[in-house]
Amino acid sequence: MNPQLTQDGRLRHLLTLDGLPRATLMEILDTAESFMDVGEREVKKVPLLRGKSIFNLFFEPSTRTRTTFEIAAKRLSADVVNLNIATSSQTKGEAILDTVDNLAAMHADMFIVRHSQSGAAHFIARHVAPHISVVNAGDGRHAHPTQGLLDMFTIRRFKGAFHNLTVGIVGDVLHSRVARSQIHALTTLGVPEVRVIAPKTLLPAGVEQMGVKVFHNLDAGLAGCDVVIMLRLQNERMKGARLPSAQEYFKFFGLTSEKLALAKPDAIVMHPGPMNRGVEIDSEVADGPQSVILPQVTYGIAVRMAVMALLAGGTAA
Amino acid sequence: MKIHIRNGRVIDPMSARDEVVDVYVAAGRIAAIGEAPADFRANRTLDATGLVVCPGLVDLSVRLREPGFEYRATLESEMLAAAAGGITSLACPPDTDPPLDEPGLVEMLKFRARNLLGPRVYPLGAMTQKLECRMLT
């Protein structure tokens, strides 16, 4: 049984894109499309979630992601409370569940959860009252479903469809929740060829079983790609004996204009941000004509509005 | 205490016995299997019709959480739980707090266990002091 769906197939929580039906993903993308123009109005707001309380529960700090959720919630007229638990009660040893119970007692309707442990959002979702929805805003290495969805939205906007694409995901797949969500979404939406391109030290065991083709050579992996997704390389990866140096990584797996020329001429370049310029991507590419990195950020708000609207609809408090 | 276990299917893997037969217990020992010993008057008869009678189970790893983790489970409750599981002998790993790396700690645990209902407790000793893998015990 999928804990994310109600018995009649409606979205109950958004924890991972793994196992969500194609129709659900399309519904979210279509709904996001209809929210796109809200950002262009004089009053950038619709009253859909008026009176609802949304709590941003960030056990792991991220101003960027928290802000996009906050803007999305406010455009839906929800009340938003930000809790940076990484620096508050959690350090005093208050258990996650106590935090969640306390907030639920304050009549929360939705929790947006980010946590450094894989499965944390599942864990919270298992314990909340039936009227509360949980949105995973990133858990450990496991999933970042709204990022995966906004990437799909971006691809659809620029490429029109999914069924004829070759998508290459380059970099630290092992530690990337974004990559996992992208892979599940791309395969569910019918992309015929999803590639992961990385040294063996940055790929998880048995990654092929997620339905991807593995490349260890950037030139070969980029050849014929319609979409190139670059992943962020965390600096601490240099310490764990996974890579010798950032310079060597950039030389063999960094995206430069010359490398990008190996992909299709109209290929788009994506990055979930924040970028390490000169480590995984050259500034010339990041700011170049094929980059859609800034539109990704814009679309992120409409996609998160869609997710919140679909979750809140029909769950009368 | 004399106990008569009547009409059970007695399975003893070590002697390859598997038959429906009576077992007679007296003075902490098995007095007879099959025919009752002369003058055997049971204090208690257990009807084992349809049940299996086998040797008490031996479990090679049971954490009794004593010393050190009594808040997680008490020796008493876990000894009883083991008995409820049919276990009559158990080996108890030394990853207690402090670890079982001194004779006094082992003797204390054995003494505590002896005074409770439940299985025979065989502590395992820590191979190294404080289980730190530096000094032998």
Binding site: M36, P47, L48, L310 | -
Partner: protein, 164 residues
């Protein structure tokens, strides 16, 4: 009692005649999805309006959202003119409780501050729950609460009313 419902084309013609005197070149016609847009398209053509037609999808403004959720096919609202200080003629097919019109007005104000809003409906069926009345109505009928009156469009573009 409504064995034969009135013919839609004649209702729209009657509406257009009533509206014509107040219309200026700066007036914008805005139809509410879906039936209101059909009626507005006809009025827009009959009245030969200068400004392009506006359309509103009020799904994001419904007050029953938390009960029934989001409509599966939300269409983007399209208001191809500046609302600020403009006279608006809001068009819907059937006026019942008034909640749709309330939602539409809320949405209009999120795009800007119009000078005035007038309401034209094909049918005012009664059962109002809000202090909202049409400025122009093709026909006024007393339809019992348990019944629905619907506008539908045939493949040839012909509009008909039906009672269910």
């Amino acid at each position: 009692m409504h064995a034969s419902l009135p013919e839609v084309d004649s209702l729209i013609a009657r509406l257009a005649d009533a509206i014509a005197p107040i219309l200026t070149p700066a007036t914008a016609i805005v139809g509410i999805h879906t039936g209101g847009v059909w009626v507005a398209e006809r009025l827009h053509a009959l009245l030969q309006c200068a400004l392009p037609l506006g359309t509103l999808d009020i799904s994001f403004y419904r007050d029953d959202f938390s009960r029934i959720g989001l409509h599966p096919q939300v269409k983007p609202s399209n208001l191809p003119f500046d609302l600020e200080g403009r006279a608006i003629l809001l068009v819907d097919d059937v006026l019942h409780t008034g909640r749709t019109v309330r939602a539409a007005m809320n949405e209009l104000f999120d795009y800007g501050r119009p000078a005035s809003i007038r309401l034209a409906v094909l049918v005012d069926r009664g059962g109002h729950e809000l202090p909202i009345r049409p400025d122009f109505a093709g026909i006024t009928l007393a339809v019992p609460g348990h019944q629905n009156i619907n506008l539908s469009r045939l493949d040839d573009g012909h509009l008909t009313l039906s009672l269910a």
